[in-house]
């Protein structure tokens, strides 16, 4: 077989982990911070974000679904006729996810 080594299992694993985090954790956060707090149904409790276990949780909540996005978005764009530039698209999408991870870590560390 004309095989070659790739990093695909790593990205696939991050895609999968991000999908699980997005499925189980994201909807309730949209309800709380995006809808219930702005409409005044719930108190604005942003101060709890400073707790260290909460910061670690937020890092996982924010960073992992970015890889899920990167994976799906680059394949969606490829499927919509951009297969010719699949490589640069992949670099751009996973690069954005990596950048997002670093920024999230930096913001959460200096809260």
């Amino acid at each position: 077989m004309n095989g070659r080594k790739t990093l695909e299992p790593l990205w696939w694993g991050l895609f999968s982990a991000g999908g699980v985090v997005a499925a189980f954790l994201v909807p309730i956060h949209i309800v709380i911070t995006g809808i219930a707090v702005p409409l005044g149904w719930l108190p604005d409790a942003q101060e709890i974000y400073r707790h260290w276990p909460v910061r670690l949780y937020l890092f996982i909540l924010i960073a992992l679904p970015l890889y899920h996005w990167a994976h799906r978005f680059q394949f969606a764009l490829s499927d919509m006729g951009m297969r010719g530039i699949h490589k640069p698209l992949a670099v751009l999408c996973y690069g954005a996810a990596l950048l997002g991870t670093v920024i999230a870590g930096w913001i959460l560390l200096r809260l």
Binding site: M1, N2, G3, R4, K5, T6, L7, E8, P9, G19, A22, A23, F24, L25, V26, P27, I28, H29, I30, V31, I32, T33, G34, I35, V37, P38, L39, L42, P43, D44, A45, Q46, E47, I48, Y49, R50, H51, V54, L58, L61, I62, P65, L66, H68, W69, H71, R72, F73, F75, A76, D79, M80, G81, G100, I103, A104, I107, L108, R110, L111
Partner: protein, 139 residues
Amino acid sequence: MMATRPDPAGLYHPAMPATWWLRKRSYFLFMLRELSSVFIAGFLVVLLLQIAQISSGEDARAAFSAMLRSPGWILFHGVALAFAVYHSVTWFYTTSIVMPLRVRGRELPRWLFTALNIGAWAGVSLVILILYLALPASA
């Protein structure tokens, strides 16, 4: 660990118009599912920006919270929630296909696996809501 895959140059890719996914309902739903990741990531970026305001002082924080109270942002979050819920349900169903759970050698029915995951999702969501309300403010 590194894995191998076939040389992409040797694979056949039929040419398709960019709008192929508008032709059939199932294709359209597939593309909606892919696009759900855009809204989920968008929400998380907004959440991160909001968290970043905490260390920027009370004024910046209040201004950001006021912005999120505008109808446009509430609409965005409503749409993002619809996409996120669509992702959750399709993710649980897909998981029941790619990672079926076996009980005493028999595969759990997909609807039951999906239902159990939805139950767990509801439980996790409730715990997060309780923690959000119960955790004391940290200095």
